[in-house]
């Protein structure tokens, strides 16, 4: 092990996320959102006409739709003025569509991802990695064995050029149309970067593929689009990581994720979100699940100033199933409004939602979830469990589930609890030598344990470390 790596080992995790790079760009759009901007972005990307037209249609819809403001207790979005956002920054790189070697990247970008540990993770535990810096994918690589089996894992922009038929069919058409909500429309107009994943029939991608999203510039918006098409009988696990250094101006992240889970296919989508606390994180993530298919959403929301995220599964085919695991941690000044949506549109469909939230130092968490069982979705079942832990009297913890049941042969159960950290428990741990913070931290780890035990080990470790950092209140 080199001495530099030794040096890296000894430092605290906090520093991993909190570093800024000088902002260098090859192309930077002006602030704000006009038809002119959209045309420029599309031109800079050398896009086909049909994609430009889709962007412009989405822009029109965005301009027509009101900001969502009427949800009970929702985060305050009044600061989010899209005209103050820099929507598109192309980093200064030579290879468009992502370099295949980290060494081909400019030193400062390479250094950023080194610090985040991405190349090392790639060597150890991943089938493929994509890395996005500002608005563009700068690195994209996948092990050869998967390429040989016909698996595609590429920059979304590149997929528009190289796989136009698939993209035309699936991109913001049947899963997340721009008309879905204001931020989906915004996303449709100015999306950039993201991943395209295609897994052919009966192929199981054994190790996860990971994409890492990094915002480095002040006042920018990141709008990556992820499209996953998993054909019949295939299996893939996609991991998404996000971070940004903190600036005084607000940043906006509004990603779009569309997942098509084919017959008997299995897709797992995991996110650990650690955006800086000036970031508004407003995403639309949705999966359509065919007969016998299985969708799993795992989300850890630690960062951001405000998050509104409700990954949705539409269980379209008989026997399709869904599993949601959600962990939210809101510290000072944070409003984490997250949950799940499941539409049971076919018989014998099944969903399980587990949510754990922690609020501390005036933070607010909210579980907002919708389970809809359509008429005819006979013998379907759903089970929802939400637990919340509160640290102090300044914090807020809300739970707002909605259940719509239009079928009688169903099994619907929802349970929720809210509690505090027990003084006696803390004292017991203290008397064994743990200090006050460590004792509370241990109780919190125990609280989220039922969820972390279901995660891949690397993931659980990362999540636990982020929780530890939150507990120390030390993340920028």
């Amino acid at each position: 092990m080199s001495s530099e790596q030794d040096h890296l080992k000894e430092t605290d995790t906090e520093a991993r996320f909190e570093f800024k790079k000088e902002q260098k760009a090859a192309f930077k759009a002006d602030k704000g959102l006009t038809e002119e901007t959209i045309r420029l972005i599309s031109e800079d990307k050398d896009e086909p006409e049909w994609m430009l037209q889709r962007r412009l249609r989405a822009l029109k819809q965005f301009q027509k739709m009101p900001m969502p403001t009427d949800w009970p207790g929702q985060p305050d979005l009044s600061e989010v003025d899209v005209n103050e956002i820099v929507p598109y920054i192309r980093p200064d790189i030579e290879t468009r569509g992502g370099a295949e070697s980290w060494d081909d990247l400019p030193e400062d970008i390479k250094d950023t991802f080194d610090k985040l540990g991405i190349p090392e993770a790639e060597r150890n535990a991943l089938s493929g990695v994509g890395a996005q810096y500002e608005s563009e994918i700068v690195y994209q690589n996948m092990q050869e064995q998967w390429q040989e089996k016909g698996v595609v894992f590429m920059d979304m922009d590149k997929a528009v050029q190289e796989h136009p038929d698939i993209v035309k069919e699936y991109f913001m058409t049947k899963c997340v149309p721009p008309s879905d909500n204001k931020f989906a429309a915004l996303h449709g107009a100015i999306w950039s970067g993201g991943s395209f994943v295609y897994v052919p029939e009966d192929v199981t991608v054994e190790m996860p593929v990971q994409a890492y999203f990094r915002m480095n510039s002040e006042g920018m918006g990141q709008f990556e689009h992820t499209l996953i098409v998993a054909e019949k009988g295939s299996e893939v696990h996609y991991i998404e990581g996000c971070s940004a250094p903190k600036y005084s101006a607000f940043n906006l992240h509004s990603g779009g994720v569309e997942v098509f889970v084919g017959e008997d296919a299995h897709v797992q989508y995991s996110t650990v979100q650690n955006w800086s606390k000036n970031t508004y994180n407003l995403n639309t993530k949705r999966a359509i699940v065919e007969k016998g298919g299985r969708m799993e959403w795992i989300s850890g929301s630690m960062g951001s100033k405000a998050t509104m995220l409700y990954p949705a599964s539409i269980l379209k085919g008989r026997g399709a199933s869904d599993n949601h695991i959600t962990i939210a941690f809101a510290g000072e000044g944070q409003n984490i409004d997250t949950g799940a949506k499941v539409y049971h549109n076919a018989p014998e469909t099944k969903s399980t939602i587990e949510s754990k939230s922690i609020s501390k130092d005036g933070g607010r968490t909210n579980y907002r979830g919708l389970v809809h069982i359509a008429d005819g979705a006979a013998n379907s079942s759903t089970s929802v469990e939400c637990d919340a832990l509160m640290f102090d009297n300044e914090s807020t913890s809300d739970t707002m589930p909605y259940m719509e049941i239009n079928e009688s042969t169903v099994d619907v159960a929802h349970e929720a609890t809210v509690g505090k950290i027990g003084d006696e428990d803390v004292f017991y741990l203290q008397s064994r030598g743990l200090d006050d913070d460590d004792a509370k931290q241990m109780i919190v780890s125990g609280f989220i344990e039922p969820i972390t035990e279901e995660l891949p080990i690397e993931y659980a470790v990362e999540l636990n470390r982020l929780v530890e950092l939150e507990m120390e209140g030390s993340l920028g």
């Binding site: 000894e10 430092t11 605290d12 535990a125 203290q430 008397s431 030598g433 344990e449 039922p450 990362e462």
Partner: protein, 303 residues
């Protein structure tokens, strides 16, 4: 050799108009000795134990709880400087007291879901060693030791900070101690006290003491709710603490029964918040035969 010295300890419940519970307790426990603290319900035994450990529900209004250490109390490699051999426990946080070698075995141990025994005990052991370093560190030294600045490794790797006692080493230690106490190995992977029977919890308290190797262990009703087999296991554990680690034991009990297996060097009897009678092991037998009314009569001259 460590000595726990309690002088004229007064304490009350830490609320407005809190009830006075301790009214001048005097007590001394040396390491390597076993002391039994007996008394009727409400006499202040459990409160004494909790105040020694620093429970926030009680406020000390008068008196001292001192811990005297010898230079080699933390092993040959750790020399305790002369000016840091006596500590007033009342100035310290509960975890600092634990780091100095004071252990409380709880009457009602907390149940913590989601935290395995192994994880908990290894964390506690490492926290104790770390805290001990801090307590004995010179202020000057502390300033020099600034953390290196830089970045961590992969988010996909295991925990970087293993602590002084590594996983493998700890598991060996845990295995030995569990065998000593005749505990089932599966306990190691269970959540801390969650769903344990009363007896299992008590056994677990003694196991924790065996791992943390305290100088002084205060065991609050460690014998209640135990069947005879488990009582023998627990007693074996307590004797081993004294014999192998030289721990001084202050054992709070209602019953003479455990004293048949763990013979005390000294017996103290509490009444109304004070220690009113002291003697050797025969005092416990006399108490068993004559009851607390006899004590009351001896002390106050009335029944």
């Amino acid at each position: 050799m460590a000595v726990l010295e309690i002088k004229n300890l007064h304490a009350e419940v830490a609320t407005e108009d809190g009830e006075k519970i301790l009214r001048g307790v005097d007590l001394e426990v040396n390491s390597g000795e076993i002391h039994a603290l007996m008394g009727p319900n409400g006499s202040g035994k459990s409160t004494t134990a909790k105040v020694i450990a620093g429970h926030p529900a009680y406020e000390v209004t008068e008196g001292e709880v001192l811990l005297h250490l010898d230079e080699d109390d933390f092993g040959a490699d750790f020399e305790i400087p002369e000016d840091k051999r006596t500590w007033d426990l009342l100035d310290l946080e509960p975890n600092e007291r634990a780091a100095l070698g004071v252990f409380l075995g709880f009457q009602y141990p907390a149940e913590i879901e989601g935290v395995t025994m192994t994880n908990f005990l290894r964390t506690a052991l490492n926290a104790k060693l770390e805290e001990r370093e801090e307590l004995f560190e010179d202020e000057d030294e502390a300033e020099d030791e600034e953390e290196d600045v830089g970045y961590d490794t992969s988010p996909m790797e295991g925990p970087v900070d293993e602590g002084e006692v590594g996983v493998a080493e700890f598991q060996q230690l845990l295995k030995e101690k569990m065998e000593l106490l005749d505990m089932d190995e599966k306990f190691a992977q269970r959540y801390l006290n969650a769903g344990f029977s009363g007896g299992e919890k008590k056994q677990n308290e003694v196991l924790q003491a065996a791992i943390l190797e305290p100088s002084i262990a205060v065991l609050d009703e460690i014998d209640s709710g135990l069947d005879i087999d488990r009582l023998q296991d627990v007693s074996k554990g307590i004797n081993a603490l004294r014999d192998e680690q030289g721990t001084g034991i202050l054992q709070i009990t209602h019953y003479q029964r455990i004293l048949d297996y763990v013979e005390p060097d000294m017996v103290h009897i509490m009444l109304d918040g004070e220690v009113v009678m002291e003697g050797d092991a025969s005092l416990a037998q006399e108490l068993e035969a004559k009851g607390y009314d006899w004590v009351r009569e001896e002390v106050y001259g009335t029944a």
